[in-house]
Symmetry: C2
Subunit: 327 residues, 2 copies
């Protein structure tokens, strides 16, 4: 049985070809060849194209009547690519999708400015749809993404970060684009408000479960996945969900350990193992997995009102798959 | 006699109060207090608010009939502020408007992400105007700005940079926003195409003369201006117009000097003085000033078709003032 993601890719193959063509066409720049070079490095590395597929899937389920779902899928991928370029500068990352990052191959300057260019290109694409409603949704999503990223920055290494704050960060930096990707697919197809809301709720919940599963993977939820190294979040001292949960159970000695390794960043050999031992002691990874399952269920429930179809079935399987990656 | 810029500020005082209020309101962020902190640091430092005043002036000259010129003026200032935040990271600048830069006071991460936020906020503001034409103009301008910045980055320290390439960079990084600022003021007021084109041509030419004058100031066109230090562009090895002109006149010995100081960046005491001597020898600063005057004339000629008014008179005086700063 194929992964739901591959099933989607197969069902949406023709549309995705059109999206990829449009992306290639619009990432060009007559005046500044550096732009397509940097963009191609990231775009050609693949990535799962999950977000544009969500837009196409939503549009298809709502009987899309315009050609603009292609524009919107490309828009969503451009916004995503722009945020990746900026994120890698902000996080000083050296690897993305198994390749050296653009900031490493070129420089931070190129990543910042090419990100700005792609972001502008994404707005040009959505303007072409002629739908002010769509523009409103995507402009709001962009602001929410940036807000989530800034919030994440300001709570970095802050051991007092609550699950509530974590959720605000995740809904911004990850779920906002999933939500908008699904929502605009419905809106551009003239779907009823009830359906549009259902698609938005699905995207939001899928995005949250996706990020929680990602956090979990980083503490070894599964050993081999996505080229991720266990412990990256620990080494980068990120306030991810397993850590927040571990802190909520910590006694005084444990708190001292977290203060030293995360707050102060004085990490020694064996610290990651000890962190994992503390997480196991308090059953933190299971609790995190339960949260991911909760959001996955929420996602599935949201689209239960849509008519049964191949695509709906695949979207129903997707949240479970996202969580199972990390189990 | 007041400077034209101060005259504009006085004529447009009520509208500018509304613009400043809207900027304050929209730079807020409930979730991430870092955002208004960083933005306020830049916004409160003043700056001349030239770009939003151009939007208001254009709208007023075209008998503005909607309240949305205020939104558009704020949009333009947000785009400008976002690009300043990113520019200061790209250039590793430590000072802006006589104060330490945000990247110095906070960090590069905050400047990148708050810039992204303001850029998204600017799109939200323009969506509220409900004008797809305006959205199209500003989305194009944003892409052109980023393209100009990337082009500037890729020709940095390249002694073969031509005046043609210089003009492409300047029309992108500086003139595109001046042009769009003027143009949307006309469009939102329902002006005739001929008038809209005239406003766009004015903004473009004003922007180019503004940047050339800025380049000139940096090589001491005038001694005290804007808190700029003579020689910053030389030390930062920027391919500004006086340098490009000096290179076009350089003999072999002079070329070696420019290769050492700009291409390789091996600068010693006395090099700036020698650079200024070479520029004087070839009359380069006068040539640069002539170019600035050429663009200033072009700007004035463009709006000659507009009906005579206080505002038109002030806009007519502005290009001359911009050039005279550097004389």
């Amino acid at each position: 049985m194929d992964k739901p993601h591959d099933q989607l890719a197969s069902i949406l193959a023709d549309d995705m070809t059109a999206v990829n063509d449009l992306i290639k066409q619009r990432m060009a720049s007559e005046n500044a060849p550096r732009i397509p070079e940097v963009t191609a490095h990231l775009v050609d590395a693949g990535g799962k194209r999950l977000r544009p597929m969500l837009t196409l899937a939503a549009a298809r389920m709502c009987g899309n009547t315009t050609p603009y779902h292609i524009h919107l899928a490309a828009t969503v991928e451009f916004i995503h690519t722009a945020t990746l370029l900026h994120d890698d500068v902000v996080d000083e990352s050296a690897q993305r999708r198994g390749r050296p990052t653009a900031n490493l191959l070129w420089d931070n300057q190129s990543s910042i400015l090419v990100g700005d260019y792609l972001f502008s290109r994404s707005f040009q694409l959505m303007v072409e749809t002629g739908s002010l409603r769509v523009l409103d949704i995507l402009a709001n999503a962009s602001a929410t993404i940036a807000e989530g990223e800034v919030l994440q920055l300001t709570v970095a290494q802050n051991l007092k970060t609550t699950e509530d704050t974590y959720l605000k960060v995740v809904r911004g930096k990850t779920a906002a684009l999933f939500e908008a990707a699904c929502k605009v697919g419905g809106v551009i197809s003239g779907a009823d408000e009830e359906i549009v809301d259902a698609l938005a709720a699905y995207g939001d919940a899928l995005g949250v479960s996706f990020q929680i599963a990602d956090d979990l993977l980083d503490y070894g939820g599964a050993t081999v996945a996505l080229g991720k190294n266990v412990g990256d979040d620990f080494r980068e001292r990120k306030m991810s969900l397993p850590l927040i949960k571990a802190l909520s159970h910590a006694d005084d000695t444990e708190l001292e350990f977290w203060k030293r390794t995360i707050e102060k960043g004085h990490q020694e050999e064996g610290d990651l193992d000890h962190a994992l031992t503390l997480m196991a002691k308090h059953n933190v990874l299971q609790e995190t997995r339960d949260d991911a399952v909760f959001w996955a269920k929420k996602a599935k429930k949201a689209i239960a009102i849509l008519p049964v179809s191949d695509i709906r079935q695949t979207l129903m399987a997707l949240p479970d798959y996202v969580v199972s990656r990390a189990s």
